[in-house]
């Protein structure tokens, strides 16, 4: 029998004493879900996510969750999680890579139905050609689904982000899904020291009646309307309804800024931001960049580093300000399309100072020397 005391999110995140554990990223997911007061998790295996949802299954066995099962495919799981969230419970799942694409249609409907689902995406290459290796290309596809996109660098951030994302997702003024993205293998399969509070405390339960949309339980008056704003009629009012609803979802994502700010401290972190050469990165590319900055410093080159934590909402204003003095903005990424560089180019005035390189994909690691090469080129 599990006896966990409900504590305030503030206490759990900021005040509770923490102990150090030496665990993998997958185990960090387990530790987060253990304290998240999750009602229901639904799983489907895919490398590199499988282990984390195995561990969530163990949590169910041990009484930390109230329901758990293995669905029949990623699309079915994302659909079932949607059903669970519409039924008013706190739901969690995780996927990655081809699983993300198989389930793709569901994510927009999560946002469209304003479901406060938290999903961990353990990124991996998409099958072009077949690959199971690390890669963040799936994030490029996910950026315009309407969900909040958080990109974490370490197992510690993964742990914290999952818990905090439930609280942000469930705020009445937000109430849209959050995707916590973590670079597969690099974080999921490696061990790191992380600090967690004791496991006898948990978040307050989700209150479905705080949602800005009706929960599908027939406990409130059923107006003649379904959960989604209904738009299939061909008339001006339904077009206007659909358009305004889409804008409202974008606005809800915008309103999450203040909560992300509060719970994550900021949407970005910057060090030495006045340097003429700035590296801007997210995920584990930040770790590689940090090493490159060290190497550059040893050579006497002054380099700044900006880490982006929230991709949706995107810290447009912050990036614009930070990069205004820089001559070069180097954006190293673990994918071939350079989606982060595209975002940054779209955010600043002189987009030609953005260097979309190095781009490493196909499962390769990113030697800091590759980033250093770019820094050297820029410093000439």
């Amino acid at each position: 029998m599990i006896d966990q005391k409900v504590v305030s999110p503030e206490y759990l995140f900021f005040e509770a004493p923490r102990e150090e554990m030496f665990i993998t990223g997958s185990e960090a997911v387990k530790e987060a879900v253990k304290r998240a007061n999750v009602d229901m998790a639904i799983s489907y295996p895919i490398t590199p996510q499988s282990e984390s949802m195995h561990l969530v299954g163990d949590l169910f066995r041990d009484g930390y969750l109230r329901d758990y099962y293995r669905g029949e495919s990623e699309f079915a799981v994302m659909s079932a999680v949607a059903g669970a969230a519409m039924g008013g419970v706190r739901a969690f799942t995780a996927t990655g890579g081809p699983g993300t694409l198989r389930a793709f249609e569901a994510f927009s409907t999560w946002a469209g139905a304003r479901l406060p689902i938290v999903c961990a995406f353990m990124t991996r290459g998409i099958n072009s050609p077949l690959s199971i290796q690390p890669d963040t290309i799936e994030m490029a596809f996910m950026l315009d689904t309407g969900i909040i996109v958080i990109h974490v660098e370490t197992a510690q951030e993964l742990y914290d982000a999952i818990l905090k994302s439930f609280i942000i997702a469930e705020k009445t003024d937000v109430h849209v899904p959050v995707g916590v993205f973590v670079d597969g293998f690099f974080v999921t399969h490696t061990r790191d020291k992380i600090k967690v509070p004791s496991d006898d405390i948990k978040l307050p339960p989700y209150n479905p009646y705080s949602a800005p949309v009706p929960v599908m339980d027939m406990e409130n008056v059923p107006i003649r309307h379904m959960r989604d704003p209904f738009v299939m009629k061909s008339n001006f009012i339904s077009y206007a309804c659909h358009a305004s609803w889409q804008q409202e979802i974008l606005a809800a994502v915008e309103r999450s800024r203040k909560h992300i700010q509060h719970y994550f401290g900021s949407l970005i972190e910057a060090e030495n931001q006045d340097a003429e050469i700035l590296i801007v990165a997210s995920g584990t590319a930040v770790s590689q960049s940090r090493e490159a900055v060290e190497l550059a410093r040893a050579e006497g080159i002054n380099v700044g580093l900006v880490k982006i934590k929230s991709i949706r909402p995107f810290p447009t204003k912050e990036i614009k300000e930070l990069s205004s003095n820089a001559k070069y903005v180097i954006v190293p990424e673990f994918n071939r399309v350079g989606w982060l560089a595209r975002e940054i180019k779209a955010s600043i005035n002189e987009s030609d100072k953005v260097i979309s390189s190095p781009k490493v994909f196909g499962g390769m690691t990113m030697p800091p020397e590759l980033i250093l090469d770019e820094i050297r080129r820029c410093s000439k």
Partner: protein
């Protein structure tokens, strides 16, 4: 749902529409009196107006299904893309328009969520989707929900075509039918989903058409009660589509009857022994009471 949520705010009494006053005061709410199909047309219904084609068999069946619900005040409908989805916004029940084909996956999550939240209450989850959503694009998720023995009722509105997308052949179209995307006629037989349902773990599986309304009501109720207490259930409803099959609107029921008569759409009912035992008790109780 507490039925007494329907009240008129005193300051609005004099301007409320007559039908609303009747609904609240004269107890014509479909949530209050389980009127069944006999009461159709006699008061407020769970669906009244709909934008489906004249004579649509699906609209008729949907109306009869809703009138047959044993527990409408605590029933949630999960639909799918298709003609019926256009009627759902007019249904006075909480209903979810899922995507195309994922209705049974959504219903699985929903049913489990409501079991967690209302362990003492009966919340019936009824999936109502077309043949394309059920037997084609969603067959995997439909069958897997049966394998998992989810306590949900799946009702297929079988118009033997993808009607809403403009009349393509579906797995439920008859062999040889010439429809869009089957320009030389459909090459394989109608999917025998009641049998597949039986073999896949449904405690109740049936096929029916709306020509005999008492029989129809009985089968809908059996399907829902069995899903509530015993295990998954499936009911296939023949719902002719005048528009795509070029029938006159007044020929819908004639079509349903003739297909039953010539045995190309027979009424079927498979009941598992446990479900039969349960239904016997229930139905005997009704006779005695």
């Amino acid at each position: 749902m507490k039925k007494d949520v329907f009240k008129i705010s005193p300051c609005f009494e004099d301007i409320m529409p007559q039908e609303y006053i009747e609904l609240v005061r004269e107890n014509t709410s479909p949530f209050d009196n389980n009127q069944g199909v006999n009461g159709l047309g006699g008061g407020k219904e769970l669906i009244e107006e709909h934008p489906l084609c004249a004579g649509c068999g699906l609209a008729l069946s949907l109306r009869m299904i809703l009138a047959s619900l044993p527990n409408p005040e605590d029933t949630i409908v999960v639909g799918s893309t298709g003609c019926s989805a256009i009627a759902f916004p007019q249904v006075a029940l909480h209903n979810i328009h899922s995507l195309f084909g994922n209705q049974n996956a959504v219903a699985s999550g929903l049913k489990r969520a409501l079991k967690l939240r209302f362990p003492e209450k009966t919340k019936d989850i009824v999936v109502i989707a077309g043949d394309g959503a059920t037997a084609d694009i969603g067959l995997d998720m439909v069958m897997q929900s049966w394998f998992r023995e989810e306590n949900i009722t799946t009702i297929m509105l079988d118009n033997e075509a993808y009607a809403n997308t403009g009349g393509q052949e579906s797995g439920m179209s008859q062999k040889g039918a010439v429809l869009n995307m089957a320009p030389t006629g459909k090459k394989f037989s109608k999917v025998s989903l009641p049998e597949i349902a039986r073999e896949s773990g449904c405690a109740y599986a049936g096929a029916v058409n709306p020509s005999n309304i008492k029989r129809f009501e009985k089968m809908v109720q059996r399907a829902i009660l069995v899903a509530r207490e015993i295990g998954p259930s499936y009911l296939q409803v023949f719902a002719p589509c005048p528009t795509n099959y070029k029938l006159r609107p007044n020929e819908t029921l004639i079509k349903a009857k003739s297909r039953e008569k010539d045995n190309t759409y027979p009424v079927k009912e498979y009941i598992s022994p446990t479900a039969q035992e349960f239904l016997n008790k229930l139905e005997e109780g009704k006779h005695n009471g």
